[in-house]
C-alpha cells in the first residue's frame, strides 16, 4: 500500500537527542499493523477463512466496508511522520518503529495492542479464527524479533468459552503480556457471558486490558449516535466508565480478587468522580448488589490500572496532579498510542515539578509491576 497524496511525508524528524540521556520508559499502548494481511496474516488463517474474508469481508456491527462512519482526524488516525519509508501502514514496519519510536524515546518495554484483530466480528467462527491468526502473527513478526515488545492475546470476546480456550492456548508463551478486549462490547463487560475470559486470565496470571473502540452495536451515547468524531473520541471515557461500573457491580472483582484490569486509551481523570458516585450508590442500594463485600473504590484501588494517553490537559496543569494523587501514583501506566495522531510525548506529559520517584513509577515501574509475571 502506498500512502495517499495527502500523506506524503515531507519531514520525518528522528531522534534529536541520544536515547541514553532519556529515562527508560514502558509504552503500554503501541499499535502494530500487518504490512499485508495476505502475506503476514493469511499464513495463520485457514483457507476457508481466507476465502471468507476476501468474499464477504469482516462484517462488524457497523455499516461501511472500509473505514468508520466517523472519519478520523488524520488519514488512518496516524501521525504524518509515522509512515514507513518503504511503504505500508503506520506501525507495520518493525525496523522503522525501532528507529522512529523505540530507540529515540528509550522504550524498554512496549505493549502491542493490535486493533483490527477480528474482535467484534459478527461471524463468531471467523472472529475466533482471525483472533488466533493475529496472535500468531504478533509473535512471528514482532515479539520473536524484538525482545522489548510484548504481545496481547486478542480474544473473540463475544464468545466467552472460545476466548478462554484461546487464552489457555497462548498463556504458556511469555511473549504475551496480557489479554486484550475492546471497550464497546455487545453487552456491558461485567455481564456473565464474559466471565470465562476473566476466569481464564486470572488463572493464567494475565492482566486483562480493555482498549477504547470496537463496534458492539449500542450507540455511542444513551441518547443515540452523536454527529462528530470528536464526540466519539471524547465518548471513550464514558464507555470505560460504564464498563468499569458493570465489572464492579456484577462482582467480577469480588469473584476474582487477583484479576488485574488495565483500561487503555480512555483517559483517567474521570476515575475519582466515578468512584465517589459509585461508592455512594452501592452503599445506598446495597440490597441490589449484596454479593459485593467492598466499596467500588476499594475494588478499583486493588485491581484497576489505567494507561495515560490521552492525558487530560487542565489549565493550570497542576490540577492534574491532584487527580493523580487521588488515583494513586502507582496506578497509571504511561502510553504513547504510537503511531496514532493523538500521541503523547513522554518529554511533555508531566509538569516539571513532578519528582524523580514519581516519574520512575509513572514511566516504568508501574508497568513492570503489572506485567511482572511476563517479564
Amino acid at each position: 500500500m502506498t500512502a495517499p497524496m495527502d500523506t506524503q511525508v515531507l519531514d520525518r524528524p528522528t531522534a534529536r537527542r541520544p536515547a541514553q540521556t532519556r529515562i527508560a520508559i514502558a509504552d503500554c499502548d503501541i499499535h502494530p499493523s500487518p504490512k499485508s494481511i495476505e502475506k503476514e496474516v493469511f499464513p495463520f488463517l485457514d483457507k476457508r477463512w481466507q476465502h471468507h474474508m476476501q468474499t464477504y469481508g469482516s462484517l462488524p456491527r457497523h455499516g461501511y466496508q472500509n473505514g468508520p462512519a466517523y472519519p478520523k482526524g488524520q488519514p488512518d488516525a496516524a501521525r504524518r511522520d509515522a509512515y514507513p519509508p518503504n511503504g505500508g501502514r503506520p506501525g507495520s514496519d518493525l525496523e522503522f518503529m525501532r528507529e522512529h519510536h523505540l530507540d529515540p524515546l528509550n522504550v524498554q518495554l512496549g505493549i502491542l495492542n493490535p486493533l483490527r484483530s477480528g474482535q467484534g466480528m459478527q461471524n463468531l467462527d471467523f472472529a475466533i479464527a482471525y483472533c488466533r491468526a493475529i496472535n500468531e502473527w504478533q509473535v512471528a513478526e514482532w515479539t520473536s524479533k524484538e525482545p522489548r515488545l510484548k504481545a496481547s492475546i486478542v480474544v473473540p470476546y463475544e464468545d466467552g468459552a472460545a476466548s478462554a480456550r484461546e487464552i489457555e492456548r497462548c498463556a504458556g508463551n511469555r511473549d504475551y503480556a496480557q489479554v486484550l478486549l475492546l471497550s464497546r462490547t455487545a453487552d456491558p463487560a461485567g455481564q456473565r457471558r464474559y466471565w470465562p475470559i476473566y476466569e481464564a486470565a486470572a488463572a493464567a496470571g494475565l492482566p486483562v486490558a480493555i482498549h477504547a473502540f470496537g463496534y458492539g452495536g449500542s450507540p455511542v451515547s444513551g441518547s443515540g449516535w452523536p454527529s462528530y468524531y470528536i464526540e466519539e473520541m471524547v465518548g471513550h471515557s464514558q464507555c470505560s466508565q460504564a464498563l468499569l461500573t458493570s465489572m464492579i457491580l456484577e462482582g467480577v472483582f469480588e469473584r476474582l480478587p487477583t484479576l488485574k484490569l488495565v483500561l487503555v486509551e480512555s483517559g483517567f481523570a474521570w476515575l475519582p468522580p466515578l468512584a465517589w458516585r459509585l461508592d455512594k450508590l452501592a452503599t445506598r442500594m446495597h440490597d441490589e448488589t449484596p454479593h459485593l463485600s467492598m466499596l467500588p473504590s476499594e475494588y478499583i484501588r486493588r485491581q484497576v490500572w489505567l494507561t495515560t494517553q490521552p492525558m487530560e490537559e487542565p489549565e493550570p496543569r497542576k490540577h492534574l496532579l491532584d487527580t493523580i494523587d487521588w488515583i494513586g501514583w502507582d496506578r497509571l501506566l504511561f502510553a504513547t498510542d504510537y503511531p496514532h495522531w493523538d500521541f503523547d510525548d513522554p518529554q511533555f506529559v508531566l509538569p516539571p515539578k513532578v519528582g524523580e520517584e514519581q516519574r520512575q513509577k509513572f514511566f516504568m515501574d508501574n508497568a513492570r509491576a503489572v506485567y511482572a509475571d511476563r517479564l
Binding site: G73, R184, T185, D187, P188, Q191, S218, P219, V220, S221, G222, S223, G224, W225, P226, S227, Y228, Y229, E231, V234, G235, S237, Q238, C239, Q241, A242, L243, T245, S246, E250, G267, A269, W270, P272, P273, L274, W276, R277, L278, D279, K280, L281, A282, T283, R284, M285, E288, T289, M294, L295, S297, P310, E312, E313, P314, H319, L320, D322, W326, D342
Partner: protein
C-alpha cells in the same frame, strides 16, 4: 461493608432558592381533568397505565428518603409534606418544581404532547396556585419539537414557569439540530433549558449496552450528562443561541473538570471538524451551563472537595438543590463540607437568581 465515606454536610442558611424538587403526579387519574376529551377517552378505553419511569422505581431507596415517604402512595404527592419538609425544612424562599411523569417515553408524538400539556396545567392548578413559593419547569414532548415549541409558547405567558424541561437521554443527542426550535423558543422567552436525569429509554442507557442493575442505570445518568454536554457544545448550540442557558439538573458535577480537560484537549486537536466552536469548551460552559448541587457525588474528605471546586475555576456554576424527595443526603445536610461561606451564598441565592431571570420578578 463499610460506610460510603461521603463527607458530612452542614445546615443551610435560610432564604435559599431550591432549583430541583419533585412534586409527583399521584396517579394518572389526577391528570384526567386536565386532558382533552380525546386523551381522557383513550386513558379510560385503553387502560393507559401509570407513566412512572424506571429511572426512579417507586420503592427504590434513591427515589425517596425514608423520612420523606408518606404512609401510603408515592413520595412528593402531598403539598402539606412538601411545604413542611422541602420548603420550611430548609428555609427555602423559592423552589423550582421538576415533574418527572414520563411523557417523554411515549412513542407517539401526539400522545406525548397531549400529556405534557395536561401535566403543565395540573402543575399550575394543583401546586403553583396553592403555594406562592413554588415555580415550575415546562414539561415538553421532545418527540415533536413543533409541539414542544407550541407548549413553550402556551406556558411562557405564566411567569411562574421559569424553564423548559428535558431529559438527559432522548432519541438523539440533545445538541442535534432537530431540537434547535426548542432552544430558539426558550431563548426568545428568556427561559433556561433544564436537562434532568432520566431518559426516554429508546437506546441502551450505557454506551456499552443495557445494564443489569438499577444502580448502574442511575450511575450512567452522569455519563449521559457528560455526553449531552459534549453534544450541545460540539453541535454549536451556544454559538447559534448566544443568550441560551442550560441547567444540568441532578447531573452530579464532580465529573465536570475532568470532562472539560478531555474535551478541551480534543477540541485543540479536532476543532477543524466543528469550526463554529471558536473558543475552549471550558469558556462556553462558564458562560452558558449551570449545575444543580445534589447529588454532590463528592470525595470522602472536605479538603478534596475544596480542591475539586478549585478545579471548576468558577464560583458561578452551582445552583442549590435538595432534589426532594430523592435520597441524596440525610437530615438537613444539603450542603457538603468544604464550601466557603462566600460560595455558599452564591450557590444558595446569587447563582439561581442570575440563571433564572424570572425568579427576580414579583409574581401576582
Amino acid at each position: 461493608m463499610p460506610g460510603s465515606g461521603q463527607a458530612g454536610g452542614s445546615r443551610v442558611p435560610a432564604g435559599g432558592i431550591d432549583c430541583d424538587i419533585h412534586p409527583a403526579v399521584p396517579s394518572i387519574k389526577a391528570l384526567l381533568p386536565y386532558l382533552s376529551d380525546h386523551w381522557r377517552d383513550m386513558v379510560e378505553q385503553r387502560g393507559v397505565h401509570e407513566l412512572d419511569s424506571v429511572a426512579y422505581p417507586n420503592n427504590a431507596p434513591l427515589t425517596a428518603r425514608p423520612d420523606w415517604r408518606p404512609a401510603s402512595g408515592k413520595a412528593g404527592t402531598s403539598l402539606e409534606m412538601l411545604r413542611t419538609q422541602a420548603l420550611d425544612g430548609f428555609g427555602t424562599s423559592l423552589a423550582i418544581c421538576n415533574c418527572l411523569y414520563g411523557v417523554q417515553l411515549f412513542f407517539s408524538e401526539d400522545m406525548a404532547a397531549g400529556f405534557a400539556r395536561a401535566v403543565n396545567d395540573w402543575m399550575a392548578r394543583e401546586w403553583l396556585d396553592r403555594e406562592p413559593r413554588l415555580r415550575a419547569s415546562i414539561v415538553i414532548s421532545p418527540q415533536s419539537p413543533e409541539a414542544a415549541v407550541e407548549e413553550i409558547e402556551r406556558c411562557a405567558a405564566d411567569r411562574r414557569f421559569v424553564q423548559v424541561l428535558m431529559l438527559a437521554m432522548d432519541e438523539m443527542p440533545l445538541g442535534r439540530r432537530r431540537y434547535w426550535p426548542i432552544y430558539e423558543a426558550a431563548e426568545r422567552h428568556g427561559l433556561p433549558v433544564g436537562i434532568h436525569a432520566g431518559g426516554a429509554y429508546k437506546h441502551p442507557v450505557t454506551p456499552v449496552g443495557w445494564p443489569n442493575y438499577y444502580t448502574e442505570d442511575y450511575a450512567a445518568q452522569a455519563l449521559a450528562f457528560q455526553q449531552t454536554l459534549t453534544s450541545l457544545i460540539c453541535e454549536g448550540v451556544f454559538a447559534k443561541f448566544p443568550a441560551l442557558r442550560v441547567v444540568m439538573i441532578e447531573s452530579g458535577f464532580t465529573w465536570l473538570p475532568a470532562h472539560l480537560w478531555r474535551l478541551g484537549k480534543y477540541w485543540k486537536g479536532l476543532r477543524m471538524e466543528i469550526p463554529w466552536v471558536d473558543r475552549p469548551p471550558v469558556e462556553i460552559v462558564r458562560e452558558h451551563v449551570r449545575f444543580t448541587l445534589q447529588p454532590v457525588d463528592g470525595p470522602p474528605h472536605p479538603e478534596q472537595l475544596e480542591r475539586l471546586i478549585d478545579h471548576m475555576r468558577s464560583d458561578e456554576l452551582l445552583l442549590f438543590s435538595t432534589d426532594y424527595p430523592h435520597w441524596q443526603f440525610d437530615g438537613d445536610a444539603a450542603l457538603p463540607e468544604g464550601l466557603s461561606p462566600d460560595l455558599v451564598r452564591k450557590i444558595m441565592v446569587d447563582n439561581p437568581r442570575a440563571t433564572y431571570a424570572r425568579l427576580t420578578e414579583t409574581v401576582q
